[in-house]
Symmetry: D2
Subunit: 392 residues, 4 copies
């Protein structure tokens, strides 16, 4: 196995690790180490909350999670010779759990602390614990369900340039100001509290903590894309914005349904990830890959062949109001339709919701032009259930 | 092969067919014929525009299409003994082209007549003609691309109840009135012009033409869902709103990319579809399938295993404005990113756009909670190209 | 659809068709027609027995089948400009049933008239009739089973040169002479009786009928390979032995399990096949494809993801005798093991045998070096059954 | 991760491990440990030769391998409460390499010491070393090839009863005596030399060493089946012949082509395997699973969708002699055809042979009834090559 260049001690918070990692995006966070193109290496990662969630049956830790501490990331990795304008090529060689930590959690955030996709319907915190059995997982909180993990880093990205960072902060702040008191909030502002910024100290720490973008949203640098298909064997092409690219990774999920709809999140876990980095000089221009990463999924995703698919359209379920090609609402309706069906199998709404958040369900944008309704679907692999769930 | 119960003569408009079909939704459109549960039968279908588009190189027919004539549907089929509250089970046994009509078209609608998903970027009409070679298709207008069709009805649905119809018309009109002069329009209002309503005549025709909902959007009855995975071998469970269910079908696509982003549409074709109908009595309540159809995809979709995937986030590309978890914009950005990449292979923007509209590309809602950015992806199967397209 | 260049009237025997076809291999059988490279065309085919089997419940027609009449083939097709040393490239564009003939049959041949893979265990003739429902098939003789067809020509091949033909006849006769009275016979000798040889007449007919190789075995020219994966969308590269290649096709199967173990055969049917031919000049030498065809399977095979797999080893089940790396016996044992299991679901041995002969089961050579036992497996897709068949 | 119940120190031979393991089959080899049904546990395994092969470029260790030392197995595991007549259910939860041992080897055995499937064509020893990069592997000895491993235990089985053991020894000895001086030998006889028999000592060791069956062939107890699809996530149902079942495992392969044609073998490696055991009481009778194990493959096999397939028939390539439905010869011809093609890409015959031995190629029994020729195929996934290999 490749050399571990970023080690984690699960008993310590991120700022006390050998390499302290970081939980904000900023070009001036110092690299943890440097490697040459062509190098393979292992990085260990804490779970995204830095260990705030326990393997027990009480969801209060989900309810009370301190969101200024997320996402604790391993890195940044400086790749020698890589410059703005290049593409950083990252191969995800393998991912796994840390020894004696073969479990994960899924949570529904409370509406007043984070919220979730269906927060108006499920405003209270909930939690399910998932045990890993090799490639499979089961939860004592959701009986009758077992599936193979499509393990992936929820968050992987490169550092923004200062200019890009300022663009992020500006546009997000403008959005937030349109409804500054909204619960849940519209965007997470820079917040020095609980910032972890590698080895930065003193005034430099304070400046970067004040300026650093929060890690919640995916952006031009990749980041918290929560793409379940970035699993073992994937190759990612990142646009590069700073010298050395400064790659960071974390938020490992044992599995996740498309949308990560419970927000906390997929099956969240600590773990390790083996990466190989390389470079395509001048690749951003050559391939017009400038705004977001591009990737090729790997060949060992779990393969299912039998799905039950639920449709949704962009009509608000609460007031019946018609929205214009709104895929957000359409997918919400599809998920709600799926949950209503899953309830007929005996699950509570929260259990059904967490099935959609954790199992390898597929969320599709099927029709996005048929005015005024978008059509989205959520597809549930029927083989994850221990009985036949098809209507008869 | 099952008996053809709805025959089409391609030389005639829909209103002059043996069964005249319809292009509006209304519970009072008379059934073309009735069948018992358990029956298999063939329905022939015109292309969705009723033959307005020609197999030539001139996109003016796309530009000038008369949208009040769409979608011409075959049906309704009355299924004996089926009542509101039941589930109508529809198996799509097979689909094919009509003899001597083994071609289809894809078009980008002009902004001022229909528009499309990327209409601000590609406001002019364009057209590509696709020839069918058994399971494969190619276009003389888009060289270097060949793929197996994932043939499906873009539109299949049951009749609404009068109450449901009124709900549709009301909510869509309210949306339209928020910006009544918008181009393209926000919603298509009921429009007696060019209405085709089966065998209705006289005052009854006039009333239904005035009240009938347009067929453009997908709704609770299924309808124009444009779900590419409703291909051969699929089983659909429809909620039933009227006696006999009144099933109609049309808008056959030889293939389509998720989103049907060019709007006109996938690869549009005339064709036949073999259906089998059955019923689950009281199924709407038993399975909580009340708002939208549910389906199981068939087992013979073309299978690809190598994709290039493009990401997008919900930041508007024109003004850089941040939107809140807007999957519509995120998917648009993903598609624009894909087009910019495809241009580096030598395609024009319009050609690249039409590749995304026609080939079996997958559109995913990957992350829908990471405030304020939704993350959507579009995945292109690399094997449709006659050369290796991966960045090197 | 491509032009039909070989038409079939199902009410007539092969020798009375517009193009009479053939049921022997010989370079001097005249071509039915000629086409240029790059041409697509349709060929209609009778079932392999020339209509000897009826859609009824009586297996006597299987028992009494006249084997000197098989396989009736459509062709030969002369491809202009193709010469020995070239590769003939054949695309299977599509395949289907003839109108009003959407059914097929599977039979177990009687030991004394043909035999089958398990003829010592199942020496009596049996028959099952399979109805086609679009992409699916079911049999009234085998309840609880439904699957998507992997439709393919059991037999497709090019004409041998005279030299190659003589080699075939010599080597097969030598084998037959090692046990000339064996039942079933070891090989089928040339037999003028019931020979159909296109438009040949008189002395030339008599000579070719006397010399023509039987169509039963696959050989260097392709022929009766019974490869289920030669389904829609496949591309085959044939070595060419005579001017024009002289391509022939027949023995269409709606589906077949690997091995075609019941011998009669897969689900046998009349039908049509759309082909496109092309040439790689000098390809035999360039690619070292000299002895047998090479092919690429198409992308629309039915995809299953859950199998129950049965192993077998090369120990004879009757006397317990150990054989040396004998994959024939190992696969037989695997099939017998599968049948014994299927009996516990309530099937008779004959029904189970016919499931293995018709459904898309996979036969694998897993280990062929572990002296003295070969290990072969037969994998049954569990989703073809209407209930869960896994041991609990 | 589950508790490691069988630990390996790679610096020591099997007889000196904490649990000494075994390399013969005999019911009286003492169990290494006992577990209850429902238990998960990890077993570490040496490579099958007990460390005789080095990570270098010299194939002499392959040539001179001491075959009486193979296969060193971890176990036996006694499962409490399991009795003859039951089915032992074994889940393969996960498999991996040992730390600092992330490489494997493939070898062609010399004809005079083991031989291989194509030993008449490739009589000399050869070796390739394969490095593991997470899910992928490459070899410095075979450029241009990279693939995802389908990792599996080549050997997993339960102990025979004494009666079954005696049947094995008798039938194999009878075969061997038909040509006792053949090179390679027809079967491996019991051989006390280099026997490893767990903790047995003294006279009992001598007796069991004398009687113990060699581990080379697969048999009724499973054993050395070399089934590449017994990969992560598989469930195996073993017939049980002795109290406690006595499960053993070893011979881990990072990957293997169907047939394991080079004999040494797939990509051979040391590693660990996580298993879960359970029991179906009386399952052998209930499900008629009496002669060989039955299994369900897991869901994370690498998925490829583009293959080049080579056919072979049962005509001997050396003398042109026709054999009767001989799948062994047919598969050999298919493999030889594939090798001849791969040579045109620039590979030596030995390199091509080792590609077939290591990559996830599929070996199929396509037709096994078309007298006198069996038809077998070998399918090579084209995506393992770094260039397009299709004939043009």
């Amino acid at each position: 196995m490749p050399k571990t260049l970023f080690e984690i001690d699960l008993s310590k918070p991120m700022q006390d690790q050998a390499h302290p990692g970081h939980n904000r995006w900023h070009p001036d966070i110092p690299a943890a180490f440097a490697v040459d193109p062509g190098t393979s290496f292992r990085m260990e990662c804490k779970d995204w909350t830095d260990g705030q969630i326990s393997n027990d049956d009480n969801p209060n830790d989900i309810r009370d999670v301190i969101l200024s501490r997320v996402h604790v990331l391993s890195g940044p990795v400086y790749v020698n010779g890589v410059e703005p304008g290049d593409l950083l090529v990252v191969d995800i060689l393998d991912i796994g759990a840390l020894a004696d930590s073969e479990w994960g959690y899924n949570g529904i955030f409370a509406k007043e602390n984070g919220g979730s996709f269906l927060t108006e319907h499920y405003p209270n915190a909930a939690k399910s614990i998932w045990d890993f059995h090799g490639i499979y997982t089961t939860s004592r909180h959701i009986p009758g369900v077992k599936f193979a993990g499509i393990i992936h880093p929820g968050l992987i990205g490169v550092a923004p340039s200062l200019e890009l960072l300022q663009k992020w902060n500006k546009r997000e702040q403008e959005l937030k100001m349109t409804d500054p008191n909204r619960v849940p909030e519209l965007a997470a502002s820079p917040d020095p509290q609980n910032a972890v910024l590698g080895t930065l100290k003193g005034a430099e720490f304070d400046r970067v903590a004040r300026e650093g973008a929060r890690t919640v949203p995916p952006r031009e640098n990749g980041g918290n894309c929560d793409i379940k298909n970035l699993s073992k064997g994937s190759r990612i092409y990142f646009p590069v914005f700073v010298e050395g690219a400064k790659l960071s990774v974390g938020d490992i999920h044992f599995s996740q349904g498309d949308g990560e709809i419970t927000f906390c999140g997929g099956i969240e876990m600590a773990g390790w990830i083996d990466l190989r980095v390389d470079v395509i000089k001048g690749g951003m221009g050559k391939y017009n890959i400038k705004e977001n990463p591009v990737f090729k999924p790997g060949p060992v995703e779990p393969h299912y062949s039998d799905y039950l698919v639920f449709e949704g359209i962009s009509v608000d379920e609460t007031d019946g109001k018609q929205h214009y090609l709104n895929a957000h609402i359409a997918y919400r309706r599809a998920c709600l339709n799926a949950i209503e069906f899953l309830k007929t199998l005996g699950y509570t709404g929260e259990q059904a919701y967490m099935i959609l958040g954790t199992a390898p369900v597929e969320g599709r944008l099927n029709g996005i032009v048929d005015i005024p309704n978008a059509c989205c679907t959520v597809a549930i692999p029927t083989q994850i259930f221990d009985k036949d769930i098809s209507p008869k």
